[in-house]
Symmetry: C4
Subunit: 196 residues, 4 copies
Amino acid sequence: MHKGRLEAFSDGVLAIIITIMVLELHAPQHAAHFSDLKPLLPVFLTYAMSFVYVGIYWNNHHHMLQVTQHVTGAVLWANLHLLFWLSLVPFVTGWLGENAIAKAPTALYGFVLLMSGVAYTILLREILRVPGGNKTLAEAVGRDMKGKASVVFYAIAIAVSFWNPSISCLIYVFVALMWFIPDPRIERVVDKAADQ
Amino acid sequence: MHKGRLEAFSDGVLAIIITIMVLELHAPQHAAHFSDLKPLLPVFLTYAMSFVYVGIYWNNHHHMLQVTQHVTGAVLWANLHLLFWLSLVPFVTGWLGENAIAKAPTALYGFVLLMSGVAYTILLREILRVPGGNKTLAEAVGRDMKGKASVVFYAIAIAVSFWNPSISCLIYVFVALMWFIPDPRIERVVDKAADQ
Amino acid sequence: MHKGRLEAFSDGVLAIIITIMVLELHAPQHAAHFSDLKPLLPVFLTYAMSFVYVGIYWNNHHHMLQVTQHVTGAVLWANLHLLFWLSLVPFVTGWLGENAIAKAPTALYGFVLLMSGVAYTILLREILRVPGGNKTLAEAVGRDMKGKASVVFYAIAIAVSFWNPSISCLIYVFVALMWFIPDPRIERVVDKAADQ
Amino acid sequence: MHKGRLEAFSDGVLAIIITIMVLELHAPQHAAHFSDLKPLLPVFLTYAMSFVYVGIYWNNHHHMLQVTQHVTGAVLWANLHLLFWLSLVPFVTGWLGENAIAKAPTALYGFVLLMSGVAYTILLREILRVPGGNKTLAEAVGRDMKGKASVVFYAIAIAVSFWNPSISCLIYVFVALMWFIPDPRIERVVDKAADQ
């Protein structure tokens, strides 16, 4: 099977997820002062954080499939599983934003990030198991320390959220930064493969 | 006619259907405890079931068009007919979820699944009727026992819903599982065709 | 310029237009009887009619670009102009459905259809004016009697709506049927061109 | 890396942004006269203006990537940064429309346009910095006087909005017209490159 439609469908779903989150930002009616936007600030900040997270997933998804040639039925379902957890991001973002950094919403936000991370790892393994192998991807991912570390950080953040949710949110921001800062090692491996 | 835009448009519509369903999950405002999510549980469960159903349709659509080369005007309309019934899935999912497994919503949910199944069969036949034929698809589909069985199960579930809607929902879950579990016979036929 | 992204962007916008219309169908909460759906019937019928209209536009757009090779900046803007009018279809569909076939909504619905028809004609002309010409499309379209007749019918329906909006809606259904029934002449010309 | 998915994802996000803005136009219920639409007029006008702005960005994005072959990780993030600011357009459009041309919404609308313009410039520079260079694009863009002038106009409009927001809106319309009117110089350069 070709990967074309897998990419197209995932692009569609991720594009919709990243865009409908902004619908949580309800423009206040008959309220035309900057101060009227103040209650929207936590909603905006959580929107920005989730935008970066979905952007990171799209970016990594893009890289992973760039070096993949064939997909199987198991890969299609592993991909839908990832999209399922990511599709819950707008909901948990809304709950977190509208209850400015409360305990339960912070924990649930972390849980959805955790499950998305696990789903991404499952997708990665399914792609590596496709008959014929994928040496480039296997080399680029290596032992996937970043992925494993993220899941551990999410678990810590969930536990901490029942005590101090602000610290949990800082952990989420930290993990996002960890992924945001480009990993020159992966790009090098990918470039090398593309040159061949 | 090429199949490219048929796939792209269907991917777009299916991606939107699968994603806007999550908008039925309204994040409770000023309600930051896990217990506040309890009324959302049936909405979440029906969302998950519908996500799997739309995922199955996308998967099967993907497989079917993978082995199709040409499309006709009749195929385009048969495809739009399928998308029409699937576009009603978010509505019936919302109605089912917000009235936790009541009789009429359960029956209507089954009706939309039934009509989607019928529309899929019509699309399949129109593709098989495209001049030049499609031996690979004809072989892979065979007598389409799974498709016919699904329609019968949906009809039974609709009848049962007026008596015990919980049993109907179990039937919907069962049919979804029946499609979810990969059918090695089809993948083998498709792989064989791809190798040639 | 290549036509690829013009098609992809139009597919995206049309897929969203056709799908978000279903959001007008609000699932009634705490109302689990079939009789609770009765007030939704006009909304559903206008949804179905608009679905067919957007489907027709997608179909014709698909056919038109199938036989087009190059696009210009003017074509891009003519295409956006068409998408602008079509993007208003969900709004007028909602207004028409929620005020079951009242005078003003019926007239406005016709106006948006009329402007979409005009925008489609402008797009067609811009494509025919692309340097190098497009003999296949010019031959297939001919004098575009169907397009011109539609605009006349919409104008009549708008005028009639102030007197009897039900007749106007019948005219809209009639025009849709006129486009829905495949035009063997066009498919023949397109097929002939594809064979060369 | 190939540019295909960057284009597909951007097309998806821009298609959704341009289409969900129309959801701000709420069809009035049980209000079937043309006069009932009067309060929607400013919402409609700001919708039309934002539609043209997003259309301009799509158009320019299309042109820019048309002459680009390779993208880097930095380009992917610069693109997501642009999409982030554009994703806020529906929100500021809604705030501006629902508070017919008040001071703060007019200023914020200008701020989002300003940041989008800055993000577009950053994206342009990242594409020009891709190893191997992009002589066609560099030549077409030149000193990017139009982009720089737009940012200056937005800054003036923001300052003016605290005194007279109507003038600011006229400036936004003027900048849109400046981009709307095709730039024969760029199309010539692009055409020349495509001929080679």
